[in-house]
């Protein structure tokens, strides 16, 4: 397969993937740092390079609402947003997933207000972690590009919406080499969307989104839970199919990095995982047995994979680029801990909150995390404590 190496920012890579996908309807609203996605895509529309009907809505709430309408009408539908935009969509996110609509949405991760900030953290997608969407966090522009294409296939296979996170500015505005695939091959791989039901099939009218009270609501929710469980089975298969077809190496739920024989391990998501790989390499050169488990798919949560790769560790650090303000620590950490609960012989663990509002995460910060874990093993730090990395205190 002839792949073309392109110099793209994350946003350009995502827009280019969208162009290659050629969705029927894209409904978007501008927000930093997502805006370049819609700039680039609007040019593709204006130049007639796609057949897409671009709906330039008046808010993110309407963006998601129009996506729901278009997807229920049988179209292949995409949008993109960030931060406040995702928060404004919140109400409709739940409706999109419960109506089982395969909408695909890149989310350029940005801190939620207040204080207002335009830079990266994961509080936006963490705020919608229980909205019934499949959630993918990517490490770099190349992965974001492939995840958008794979996301369409996955969404339509399981009839669930998919959001793909890329770290604001760090990935969205950083220039990288992206290995792009031939458009024809992508379109063959995706085929046409074949909806089970469509509003436009007027000879067979359907009622979408009826009032559902005490006698059926619970069963419908249970069915939706089942759909997410089934997605867990489908996700690795779709990745396998994708990797085989496109000769890529996209990990599915998690990416283990030198963790199999490690003593100290760290769990991370997003671009900081790239930094942590460098830290692991550097410390390994010094003879330290350290490793990383990158979580790529956050929903459905990869419980089995986390246990498999971290149970043997002497200490585990969980990095959160968001705080849940729950009194418990970061959301990724609390979920990892709930996976551990009831398991015998799990490693002691610590939570590391880092990078809120775009605070840079340096290699020294990563080394500091492993220092803490060493101290944890030595009994000088307490399991279950929360540390703030890169913070002036």
């Amino acid at each position: 397969m002839r792949k073309v190496r392109m110099a793209f920012t994350g946003n350009e890579a995502v827009a280019y993937a969208m162009k290659q996908i050629n969705p029927d309807v894209v409904a978007v609203y501008p927000i930093t740092p997502q805006t370049e996605i819609m700039h680039s895509f609007s040019i593709y529309v204006a130049d007639g390079e796609v057949d897409t009907n671009l709906v330039t809505v008046e808010s993110e709430h309407s963006a998601m609402s129009a996506c729901v309408g278009a997807s229920a009408a049988g179209a292949r539908v995409m949008t993109a947003t960030a931060s406040q935009g995702l928060a404004l969509m919140h109400e409709i996110l739940y409706i999109a997933s419960a109506l089982r609509l395969p909408i695909v949405m890149p989310v350029v991760n940005r801190a939620l207000s207040a204080p207002i900030n335009i830079h990266c953290d994961h509080s936006d997608m963490m705020g919608s972690r229980d909205s019934g969407w499949i959630q993918i966090f990517t490490e770099n522009a190349n992965e974001a590009y492939h995840s958008v294409i794979l996301g369409v296939k996955l969404a339509e296979k399981v009839n669930l919406p998919v959001m793909i996170g890329l770290d604001g500015f760090i990935i969205s505005h950083g220039m990288e080499v992206v290995e792009t695939l031939p458009t024809e091959e992508i379109r063959n791989f995706l085929g046409e969307r074949k909806p089970v039901y469509s509003l436009l099939d007027v000879d067979n009218p359907i009622t979408v989104g009826p009032l559902d009270l005490q006698d059926y609501f619970f069963e419908h929710k249970r069915a939706q839970i089942e759909a997410m469980e089934e997605a867990r089975e489908v996700i690795p298969k779709v990745h396998e199919e994708y990797n085989k077809k496109f000769e890529t190496n996209l990990p599915d739920f998690v990416e283990p990095y030198k963790i199999e024989d490690a003593e100290l391990g760290v769990i991370a998501m997003g671009s900081a995982a790239g930094t942590m790989k460098e830290v692991v390499d550097k410390l390994r050169e010094k003879g330290k047995r350290v490793g990383l488990l990158r979580i790529r798919i956050f929903r459905p949560f990869p419980s089995g994979e986390i246990l498999k790769y971290t149970k043997h560790l002497c200490a585990l650090g969980i990095m959160d680029r968001a705080h849940s303000l729950s009194g418990l620590g970061g959301p990724l950490w609390t979920e990892v801990r709930s996976v551990f609960y009831g398991e015998s012989c799990v490693p002691p663990d610590m939570n590391f909150i880092y990078g809120l509002g775009g605070r840079d995460f340096f290699m020294e910060d990563g080394e500091k995390i492993f220092d803490y874990l060493e101290k944890l093993v030595e009994g000088k730090e307490q399991s279950g404590s929360v540390k703030y990395i890169g913070l002036r205190e």
Binding site: D24, V25, N53, A66, V68, G69, L200, V202, G209, D212
Partner: protein
């Protein structure tokens, strides 16, 4: 115009068994609007009485394709459906001529859904938005909305000892819609069925965004006997409280001018929500003043846009 006989045979009315209150006007409004076209339609419905009483799972009263998304986004939802239709038709996946209709109550249209409506109108989608205006949030138990008339009693503007009902005049949504410069906007009343159907027919014949504001009397919310709905819908027009008019490409046309404009008291006295002002001449005068002002302005607009 379609004959009454033909209208009754087009089959897009609600199926029997819906749970609307006795005397509710919107089942008739749905029937008149949807049957005004012989083309298939897809309906988007805002959260509200209409959605609630027509679709309690596993039943549906809708014989046409129908979607409910949320409260404030019927216009955005139908935008998406229409956008999908345009592109799928271009791609040759659909060959039918389909019409798109959104229904929202006054809460879902004047208030929480105004932004989505405005956006959809500005973008120029080919659809008809129908507001069934029962002048308050009825589904949640009668709270004041931007459409509630001056002095009306609702649960959030109660007729109290110090404050006699709603203190503000109603928002003129039809005029707000007209300001978007869309091809067609009109006000109608189920009390004048031929006028309503004619307006819906005209709306369906025009490409682009269209808007119909239809008064929808509500027995529990307004407090009148169930059988009086049509009479009250007519009186609203005869008193010029709810003028019947249309604005086609900027030209105003009042489609019915009462020969004898009745005083507002004739409409107010039939409804429990105005009971507290019936002996308060000052408030009745203020109500009358607001109605006269709007009516006079409308007459001038008609004159000015038809010179």
């Amino acid at each position: 115009m379609v004959t009454l006989k033909e209208l009754s045979r087009r089959g897009k009315e609600l199926a029997p068994g819906h749970r609307a209150c006795a005397g509710c006007m919107f089942p008739s409004i749905i029937k008149m609007v949807l049957n005004a076209t012989d083309k298939p339609v897809v309906v988007a419905n805002a959260t509200g009485c209409m959605e609630v009483v027509t679709t309690i799972f596993p039943y549906t009263s809708w014989k046409v394709s129908w979607i409910h998304n949320a409260f404030e986004n019927a216009a955005a939802t139908i935008s998406g459906v229409e956008a999908a239709y345009q592109v799928l038709k271009k791609k040759g996946k659909i060959d039918k001529d389909i019409k798109f209709v959104a229904f929202g109550g006054d809460g879902g249209t004047y208030d929480i859904g105004l932004q989505a409506l405005s956006g959809a109108l500005e973008r120029g989608h080919d659809f008809l938005y129908v507001c069934y205006d029962n002048q308050a949030y009825m589904n949640t138990g009668i709270q004041r909305s931007g459409a509630t008339p001056f002095s009306a009693h609702t649960m959030t503007s109660p007729a109290g000892k110090a404050i006699p009902g709603k203190q503000q005049k109603r928002k003129d949504l039809t005029e707000i819609v007209v300001a978007h410069g869309i091809p067609y906007a009109a006000q109608a009343s189920p009390g004048y069925w031929a006028d309503l159907v004619k307006k819906a027919e005209k709306a369906f014949s025009i490409k682009g965004p269209k808007f119909l504001n239809v008064l929808s009397p509500c027995p529990p919310g307004w407090g009148y006997p169930e059988e009086k709905g049509i009479e009250i819908a007519k009186l609203a027009v005869e008193t010029c409280i709810w003028p019947l008019y249309e604005v086609e490409y900027g030209k105003y046309r009042i489609t019915y001018k009462p020969k004898n404009k009745l005083p507002v008291i004739e409409w107010l006295k039939l409804q429990r929500r105005f009971k507290h002002i019936l002996n308060n001449q000052k408030l009745i005068d203020e109500f009358q003043r607001q109605v006269d002002e709007t009516w006079e302005r409308l007459l001038k607009l008609e004159e000015a846009t038809n010179k």
